[in-house]
Amino acid sequence: MSEVSGKREETLDLSISYILIVGVIASVLFEIVGIFGYYYSNRDLSIVFAPDFALRGSNFFAYAAQTIQALLFRKWTSISVLAFGLVLLIITPYVRVVVSVAYFGLARNVKYLLITLFVLTTLTASLLLH
């Protein structure tokens, strides 16, 4: 491995590491706030099995957009905060795949560009499924 490609791979490793840690910490923080909010508004911590309390939508990306919109433009509810925390968590490994595709594209490593593109395409298709 040349020194240049070694340095480049180090950059990829660092980027992936930061994406993972920031994604997990942010999601856990939102979930903690959401649980406190849930208790504050209901005085109860029952788990509800009903459509409104499940992650569901026409597809995952639409659901994520809807959750972000709910936080940005409407009143915050504990369920929307909890849902946003889970969306952040689910999207974290997806983002690291996107960054890896970009890295291998810039590094002109065709083999790994194709491998990471396959991972990205399959995940995207699966998240678009309903």
């Binding site: 997990v24 999601s27 856990v28 911590l45 788990i47 509800v48 690291r96």
Partner: protein, 301 residues
């Protein structure tokens, strides 16, 4: 507290009127949070992972097994990503090998999660018990070599650039390694992904076995690369459970917080426990979980 029969809780449908699970089960969000901290802690100590412990525990509290599996799949993303971050930064994880192997685990996980969405819950209890039984074989892990010697890399593995090096603190030096059998290793990882997606677990022990016995990875590279891959396997499985509407916010959120906290605590004190204690703890926990899942499977109406 009202407790319904198992059949009724297993058959909860979305079309049914709003039903608070706490009416049917013995646990609420706080309970799930506390149990998850313990499960994450024990999962990190024993190497079983939080999901393998949480699912039988939730089932004991009358949470339908499919809901427990779906929530666990999301939870695994948190524990895997949290620990993978530091190993990737230390460059112990082989990112290229991970990307290649992910293509297989991801495909397996999507197939496995799809099967779970349609299969009768009874079978899941038995599959889970069978999978836990295979974890006993993980105990033979000490038989493997820490640093496989004289690995002859095949052409496909060489083409995939499956080699690397990392600084090993225990060995106080740079360790260089080569992998081999990339084709067979890929198939093994497909099986690991299938089990993970189907049962809502990381299947880390199985992945590590494939890495070390087939691909000939050094043990530290193997466990850290497995951890990194688990995140994508779990995402693939979670995408199917999302489409099936099986991920419940009130269950997944406290589980994610609890197992993450528990895993961090477990990881920090792991080195203070003698290996013998950890091994006994592992055997006792796995035995109890197998009995619990078999009991549920047999007594389910």
């Amino acid at each position: 507290m009202l407790l319904l029969g198992r059949k009724e809780t297993e058959n909860l449908k979305f079309s049914s009127p709003l039903a608070s699970v706490s009416e049917y089960t013995l646990i609420d969000m706080l309970g799930v949070l506390l149990v998850s901290i313990l499960a994450g802690f024990l999962g990190a100590l024993t190497g079983l992972g939080g999901g393998s412990i949480m699912i039988p525990v939730l089932v004991a509290f009358n949470i339908p097994v499919k809901y427990a599996i779906a929530a666990s799949m999301v939870t695994i993303i948190a524990t895997s990503s949290g620990s993978a971050a530091s190993y990737v930064r230390q460059r112990i994880t082989n990112v290229k090998a991970a990307f290649y192997l992910e293509t297989f685990t991801m495909t397996g996980a999507i197939i496995g999660a799809t099967i779970t969405s349609f299969i009768a819950p009874r079978f899941l209890y038995f599959f889970f018990a069978a999978f836990l039984l295979t974890s006993f074989f993980g105990l033979s892990g000490h038989m493997r070599e820490d640093f496989p010697k004289q690995v002859r890399q095949d052409r496909f593995s060489k083409w995939l650039e499956l080699q690397g090096s990392y600084y090993d603190q225990a060995a106080e030096g740079e360790v260089e390694y080569k992998m081999t059998n990339a084709g067979l290793g890929g198939l093994g990882m497909m099986v690991a992904g299938l089990a993970a997606g189907m049962l809502g677990i990381g299947a880390g022990a199985f992945k590590v076995s494939v890495h070390e016995l087939v691909l000939k990875m050094p043990s530290k590279v193997s466990s850290t690369t497995s951890n990194f891959i688990i995140g994508i396997t779990a995402l693939a499985g979670a995408s199917v459970y999302f489409a099936s509407g099986l991920i419940f916010i009130g269950l997944a959120a406290p589980m994610a917080i609890g197992t993450t906290i528990g895993a961090v605590l477990g990881g920090r004190i792991l080195n203070r426990f003698p290996n013998r204690v950890i091994r006994y703890l592992f055997l006792v926990i796995v035995f109890a979980l197998i009995v619990q899942m078999l009991y549920k499977g047999i007594t389910l109406q």
